[in-house]
Amino acid sequence: MAECDGKSSPKFKTNVIKSLDTLESYISERDNSEDVFYLSPVPDLCKEYPCILGIDEAGRGPVLGPMVYGTSFCPINEQMILHKLECADSKQLNEEKRDDIFKNMLENSDKIAWGIEVISPNSICNSMLSRSKYSLNQVSMDAAIKLIRAAIDSGAKIQHIFVDTVGKPEKYQAYLKTIFPSYEITVAKKADSTYPIVSAASICAKVSRDHALRVWEFTEGLEIKSEEFGSGYPGDPVTKKFLVDSCDLVFGYPQLVRFSWSTAENALKDTAYHVEFEEIEKQDKKDAPPANNTSITSFFKMTSKPSIVKKEHEFFARRCLTRKVEF
């Protein structure tokens, strides 16, 4: 049994990400069933001059792997660097190009800082399948808030925050404004193609997700390479095959898979054993009329012997104790 992960770093070898290799080792050294956070060293320029900060996400839709929130920030008067780095909508770029831009960003660590929150598939499921139903939107917003707060706490002089929206931009913007009242905040649809600082954040998120999948180690001990589980999008035939092949009849899937996605849920319904959760059943039955009630008409029936059912004391009923044998 492992101990719960504190965020203390001495137990890990990699604590600073300087390349794609160190990005991979940073992620793979940490527990992939828990969230992983990283914030790059903040350059002095970001502490001296007012900065713009971007937030975007990668891997919200796929049925497997982590969802990654990314941030990047740089001084307003240095933002030309973003154009030089060719930061554009990460979805328009191929994987190789994104890796290149990310590497160039790392080389400009004197001007641009970045951070990620890798939300594990297990923690996404746990949130969505918790009693209080912590929604994916709330998980997303909390990740964004965590990154913004970390940037502010690092001493960076953040002035304007740009966020790619989750749900309705107006509502989200108003919500962020209540949390960060002293900052300028812009929440917009497709912010990653409009604002280069959001594109940069989006690239950090996407690159981190791709590499997190590449170094994914199955706690279940399965020997499956990332090429064998695919992108995680429901339409991907490789992912489809993986969901069929790696199904365990009792446990369902390895924890790389997001159980709370309908693709996974439906696939399990067809192949794995049916599972009934006690509490969920009980909650459903709450509205039903209480059983064992004597109906009014029964009092008018002429019966010689009223049937007496010996009931056990409530003490036993409450403890789920019944007598199985007469001694």
Binding site: L129, E220, F316
Partner: protein
Amino acid sequence: MATIHIHPKAQFAKKNSKLQSMPFKVHADCDANVEQYFNSYVKTTKDNYFKSSFRGYPLLGKEVPVPDGYVGLVLHESIKPITEKEERKLRITNTFSNITFWNWDKVPSKNDSIIKALEWIEIAEVLHSPIVEE
């Protein structure tokens, strides 16, 4: 009511199994890859509970010891009774001294069935022990 015969296997006392009580029912009777898919993920939280997941559901667990002077038995019945009045023969396959009790996203507490059921043992002892005059 039926009579239950319990047949101990000679070596039963040696086998101490790891028992886990889950808040769900799997509609199957088979071996499961518990070590691989479940135990490998179990963690201890700061306040000394266990934490794990099953099919994405968050679970919180606690070790519940079998009371002193008692031993837990895992019984197996090869021939299922047809009527309630039949004599039943059960075989001991394992013993246990702890149960890991799991709840769905709720800290195990005194209000949970197994923990409450075990209270009866203590109460029964008090109820059935002879009254000693002072």
